[in-house]
Symmetry: C2
Subunit: 156 residues, 2 copies
């Protein structure tokens, strides 16, 4: 009986250790903030490319690649990168998110929805190669970026 108790105790300790190990695998807030800051940088790279194309020489293939990247990130579920515990903190740098993003879920969700709609429409138009339509739609997309920044990003 004594031996059985020791075995059970050992099993409990192993179990607790495993749980701790699993918990450690969850990404740290710093990593999550770094990921979301990175996602916006990739968006900036690709919106910059589209801007260059609609204001300069239009390269259909480059616009498609850029628009598809923007749409994929818009559809990726960026909301998962704003869990509780990441209201403040440093990823690549101090987060510039405003507390309202965490407290006004309805408004944040609506901002994300608008961004998704316009990003997916842009990808659709990019595939058509209609430069004028892409330019107009790119303006709509930028409005959703600006709207979200105004509401949920601290001023630099």
């Amino acid at each position: 009986m004594h031996k059985i108790l020791k075995t059970l105790l050992a099993a409990l300790i192993v179990s607790a250790t495993s749980s701790a190990a699993l918990a450690q695998q969850a990404p740290k807030p710093e990593q999550i903030i770094k990921w979301r800051q990175s996602a916006y940088q990739v968006l900036a790279w690709n919106t910059g490319r589209i801007k260059n194309n609609v204001e300069g020489t239009y390269n259909k293939d480059e616009v498609i690649r850029a628009a598809n990247t923007i749409a994929a990130i818009a559809n990726s579920g960026l909301g998962a990168l704003y869990p509780a515990g990441t209201e403040t903190g440093k990823g690549w740098r101090e987060t510039t998110v405003r507390p309202e993003l965490f407290t006004d879920g309805a408004r944040a969700g609506e901002a994300a929805r608008k961004f998704n709609v316009e990003a997916n429409e842009l990808a659709k138009l990019a595939a058509s190669g209609d430069a004028a339509a892409v330019k107009t739609q790119f303006g709509k997309l930028n409005q959703t970026c600006k709207g979200c920044h105004d509401d949920f990003r601290k001023k630099d």
Copy 2:
């Protein structure tokens, strides 16, 4: 005649100034390095999500979102983020790229091609919802990541 010369000179100065202004609009090496470091962070976020799904509870929708993001970045033309002048430098941090990426274009191109092929295949399989096939394909994708890191990324 003297007046015409002055006008021509003025025009040349305006032209030179405009060229300088345009040149200033081109992204700086630091910005380009930041973009590429960000792209790999977004890849890390999404490969991490797929890993969690194939090793734990499988959520078809999350895997689709993650695989589509990886494929879009693979197809985005990351090569454009390695122009001459970005062999060294600091984006979010000092670049870890090895000089071979800039001197062995054929090998770097082949590494990028393999990554694209496996990333696009993963997105295709993710859409099917076949968890076992996704797991196998995810292993193939990781091999292309590792191969490229071995050849072209400095050890931490």
